[in-house]
């Protein structure tokens, strides 16, 4: 069995094009374009003719792929669910941050 040391990439540092995003997530480019126009996936540079996407978009697109496959979500439902998931992520992040700031003894 091969044992090798593998280097990794920080997910947060990814910047990819729409076609790379399609390749990485397995979502068809047309579907991604719909999600972008619905605002569910946002490019870093919205004004550019060839938009680039960062980690948040990659994460949302991977969610989209799984949700579409596993729940049969259509183009209307998908952006809605992604938006709600993003809000939950944000709230959980705030909660973690508040918990860290509170003195341990009074939690």
């Amino acid at each position: 069995m091969r044992v090798e040391l593998t280097e990794m990439l920080w997910f947060e540092e990814h910047v990819v094009s729409l076609s790379e995003l399609a390749e990485l997530t397995g979502l068809p480019a047309g579907m991604l374009e719909e999600l972008v126009s619905a605002g569910a996936i946002e490019p870093i540079d919205a004004s550019s003719p060839e938009p680039r996407f960062g980690a948040a978009a990659l994460s949302a697109a991977r969610h989209a792929r799984r949700l579409r496959e596993d729940f049969d979500l259509d183009a209307q439902a998908l952006p809605l669910v992604l938006g709600l998931l993003e809000r939950i992520d944000g709230l959980e992040q705030q909660l973690r941050s508040l918990r860290a700031r509170l003195p341990g003894r009074i939690r």
Partner: protein, 317 residues
């Protein structure tokens, strides 16, 4: 090969209709899908449910599965020869179900992939795993041993599970909720399809002293009342070693004293900050002499900690 009761996993009787199967799947997916569920063990449970649904929603696979008969879940069994003859006629002598799991076996039915016909290229699957690390690991970087069992396509385009063992270096600078992508380390692609990626989801284990928020750390700093009033200099632990922290006179409980760049490293060479959160604590045992001094202090002081109570908050006339 271990038997799996796909009907029981979906909570159904063996004669369930296609509609019942779909409904049961939807209900369980809603409950256990890792993207929407907070149930412990949801991910594992969802995998079972998805596998059961993949099998039972396909008429051929379901018929083949039904003909294997009902066994106890987990019971060892072999598909009988007449079953093989019917469902896997071209597998021939070389076919062995050794090492195959039930799901893989049903993937190989007659007419399935790899039975000749046009070979399509298939991308490998992406994998996502949770990697809990300590704050010390995040500070110094660490190596972890990964031992994964990933489905791969073999040269014939058949799915099989292959053990992958490798070491992964988690660079310093990890923080809670961060993800690492390991390109090409997921399932292998088939016929020119790209290899899948492996995603590591980092979480930080709780620490006795530090609480992490991103790359910042929070540490409780208990002070005696006189230290908080007079100010002092105290030694505090930081991941990089103890440092002296000047506590200014008249420090209040709940204040955050910031130690710049004493938190966790950030990948680009920066560091988060460490915050000492002030707690004012009192001794639980006091001597007679101490009590006498507190009494003198109480008589002497003009401090009114609750002065603002008298102005607002009561509405009775």
């Amino acid at each position: 090969m271990k038997y799996k009761d796909y009907y029981a996993i979906l909570g159904l009787e063996r004669g369930a209709s296609d509609e019942d199967i779909k409904k049961a799947y939807r209900r369980l997916a809603r409950k256990y899908h890792p993207d929407v569920s907070k149930e412990p063990g949801a991910e594992e449970k969802f995998k079972e449910v998805a596998e059961a649904y993949q099998t039972l929603k396909d008429a051929d696979k379901r018929a083949a599965y039904d003909q294997l008969g009902a066994h106890q879940p987990g019971q060892d069994f072999q598909p009988p020869p007449d079953w093989r003859a019917q469902w896997q006629p071209s597998a021939g002598e070389s076919f062995s179900s050794e090492g195959l799991d039930l799901f893989d076996l049903l993937e190989r039915l007659r007419g399935g992939r790899g039975r000749g016909g046009p070979r399509v290229s298939m991308p490998g699957q992406d994998y996502e795993i949770a990697v809990p690390i300590t704050i010390a690991d995040a500070y110094q970087g660490t190596e972890i041993d990964l031992d994964l069992n990933l489905p791969d396509y073999d040269a014939q385009g058949q799915l099989r599970r292959v053990p992958h063992a490798f070491k992964a270096r988690i660079p310093k600078g990890a923080s809670d909720g961060q993800r690492l992508r390991v390109p090409g380390k997921g399932g292998k692609g088939f016929n020119g399809g790209r290899n899948g990626d492996l995603y590591l989801n980092i979480s930080l284990r709780p620490h006795a002293l530090y609480r992490a928020n991103g790359h910042d750390l929070y540490l409780d700093l208990p002070l005696a009342p006189w230290e908080a009033v007079l100010g002092t200099s105290v030694q505090v632990p930081t991941p990089g070693g103890p440092v002296r922290l000047k506590v200014p006179a008249v420090t209040q409980a709940g204040q955050h004293l910031r130690l710049p760049r004493r938190g966790l490293p950030i990948p680009k060479g920066e560091y988060g900050d460490l915050y000492a959160v002030v707690l004012i604590v009192v001794p639980s045992v006091v001597s007679d002499r101490e009590r006498e001094l507190y009494r003198q202090l109480a008589e002497e002081t003009g401090f009114e900690p609750r002065a603002h109570f008298s102005e607002e908050g009561s509405y009775a006339s």
